[in-house]
Symmetry: C2
Subunit: 404 residues, 2 copies
């Protein structure tokens, strides 16, 4: 008998707990595996010997089903980056010591690009010091920017939230008889996948969003205003989806840089607010910017069933890969067909994934750089399908909780 | 045989189309009523003779069910205020002429406080000129600030959205091991009902929101910072719900006044951003402000079934009141009991309602002015119960649409 450990890292998603459930359920039915440890706050828990016994926390199938539908990370997260062990091996030695003391033979790290760096380094270290501990990466991120996988768990649910909310914003924006512009700012610093996914509304006959701007396409304030004015010739209520990572005249307007007001106070505003003030000054019509903020990464109440199911499956596949002797890999989706939608789960060498970023294909951006193509639409549609059954108490979705 | 007309006015909600459905369905089965006209853009449609025949639009029970779950106003809205007819009767004469030409004998106006002013004036005018046209007000507003009714249609759905989203924000805020403050700005210029309703999470064992600030209670920046620091002694991730209408040191920070940056650009920011910058400067921890923006008034995908059902019922009751000869009234809810939750629908004289505002009871605010009492919790809970069944196409909720 031996033990395993699993941890969650990076920014929250609606599906990261589903991948944890997948790891747990598969491990729980694998002969040979005794304790299934959850590492608190990502790799920090492994360094500091801070684990919980998941078999004591997840005691029923109901617990597992509820956890799958609970957003964010039940084990907490971290942004901790391991140093190269050639320079400083102290963290590695601590982890090795902790894993040895708990007889942990496999470690599963659910995270994005940065977290795969940890998987790569840890696997490499264990091989170097000849410790037989398997290290497996399970991808997750709403940004969908991980290499070698068709898409990432967490993305489908974020995209479903964005589309659902955008459609409600469209209804809201059409209520008055006057012209208006609505700018919806969507997450994605370097990759425009989530912003681009708002195009799925076109499949249901919506003309909006009329304009879609991604960081992968050069953006200019002047062209943006031209686009708005052109769209206004056709639509009373113009809706533009703008990625937070869009560089406006080569300058990034993000919540970290902010705006200093006349009193010296710093206002942390993004590109949406900036473009809003520009439209107000140059076009003069009713204008509003809306930041979808953290809601787009944690809205489990409108999660994609496809996403939540796949997130569990890829977690489970990670356990099987480790049991088959794999290590230093990240589990990936390969899309077999679109209609019917089918994927298979494979593993990819971690070095091809860690520290890389998969941006939105420029061939899926239209010539004007202000919308996306039908190929993008067809790629996105299967990922947002289906709705998990939500349990409510007092009219509010029930979450699985460890703390208060 | 005679005809009737119905219109929608004021800001969007998730339930205003359900009240329209209630008027339509009740009228459609009332003998004597022939055409059921929908007035486009509120009272403007009545002035400009801009109607649609709802029997041609809503041709099946499926249409009606879908309309009930579609947010915003299918007929469009307006903010048009009628002048006193003693000063200028031209609008009234136009409306009377239009109604006479279409044999319209009853007019139903679905709206908030301002719209009830239109109901009052119109009813008064028709009585003055001895025109037998019934005028009935059907309340709606997410602000819940209408007099003489236990609550308003639209409020329960907004409150359910706020609670659901707030809970997801709570999960998101607890992910890292560092202290943080999250400020959630919620609609309500003068009345704090919607912000206060976030307390429903306490019924499900959440400690958050830890602080709740309403316009009905005096607010000071200094006390707010004290409250934050005190809450931080107990909670790593502090969550504060703040009404957009809170006056900070007697000054209103709303999206209309805004902030001028160093380049002279105007940024339209509310109280949330202002408090965020204050916490950043004075406390120095991770801080984020989140504006729930228009989503809180149009999120039909997480509507309250109680709200949607009551909205239809109160619309239908309006038609019955008119058929019984009532006019110059607004339909109201009276709560009979909380457990089991039961309401009855009555009518209230319009003069007691129009141009008044029902603010949140100060006796439901705690002594420190930073939270609400258990009486408030018990008032809110029944209003957010139940979930309408949502129809999806391509993974996105289906809306009833007239235009593109």
């Amino acid at each position: 008998m031996f033990n395993i450990a699993v941890a969650q890292s990076g920014g929250p998603t609606a599906a990261i707990n589903s991948s944890l459930t997948g790891v747990f359920r598969e491990a729980a039915k694998t002969s040979g595996i005794d304790c299934i440890f959850g590492s608190i706050n990502g790799i920090e828990g492994a360094i500091n010997d801070n684990f919980i016994n998941l078999r004591k926390i997840l005691t029923s199938d109901c617990d597992c089903e509820l956890l799958k539908k609970t957003p964010s990370t039940i084990l907490g997260s971290c942004r901790y980056k391991l140093k190269n062990y050639a320079e400083d091996s102290s963290d590695y030695e601590k982890i090795a010591s902790v894993f040895r003391s708990h007889n942990i033979k496999a470690f599963f790290y659910i995270g994005g690009n940065d977290s795969m760096d940890t998987v790569m380094k840890l696997d490499s270290y264990f091989k170097e010091v000849e410790l037989d501990i398997k290290v497996i990466g399970i991808p997750k991120t709403i940004d969908n920017d991980v290499m070698n996988t068709d898409h990432t768990p967490g993305f489908g649910s974020a995209a479903k939230y964005v589309a659902t909310t955008m459609q409600e914003i469209i209804r809201d924006s059409r209520v008055y008889s006057i012209p208006s512009v609505t700018i919806v700012e969507i997450m994605g610093r370097n990759a425009g996948w989530l912003t681009a996914s708002s195009c799925v509304l076109h499949a249901n006959g919506e003309s909006a969003p009329h304009l879609i701007y991604l960081p992968e396409s050069k953006f200019s304030a002047e062209r943006f205003l031209e686009d708005i004015k052109n769209a206004q010739k056709k639509y009373r209520a113009v809706i533009a989806a703008v990625s937070e990572g869009v560089l406006c005249n080569d300058k990034q307007y993000n919540t970290a840089s902010g705006v200093i007001d006349a009193f010296g106070h710093k206002y942390l505003s993004g590109i949406g607010k900036y473009l809003e003030s520009m439209v107000l000054e140059s076009v003069g019509c009713k204008v509003r910017s809306i930041e979808l903020n953290v809601m787009q990464r944690c809205s489990s109440h409108i999660a994609s069933l496809t996403d939540i199911t796949e997130a569990e499956n890829i977690g489970a596949a990670g356990v099987r890969a480790a049991m088959n002797g794999e290590s230093g890999v990240m589990m990936v989706f390969r899309r077999i067909s679109n209609n019917p939608y089918r994927v298979e789960i494979l593993s990819s060498d971690i070095s091809a994934v860690a520290n890389h970023e998969k941006t939105f294909p420029t061939e899926w951006i239209n010539g004007n750089g202000n919308n996306v193509t039908i190929d993008a639409l067809n790629y996105f549609l299967p990922l947002i399908r289906g709705e998990p059954e939500i349990e409510y108490k007092n009219g509010i979705p029930v979450h699985f909780r460890l703390d208060q």
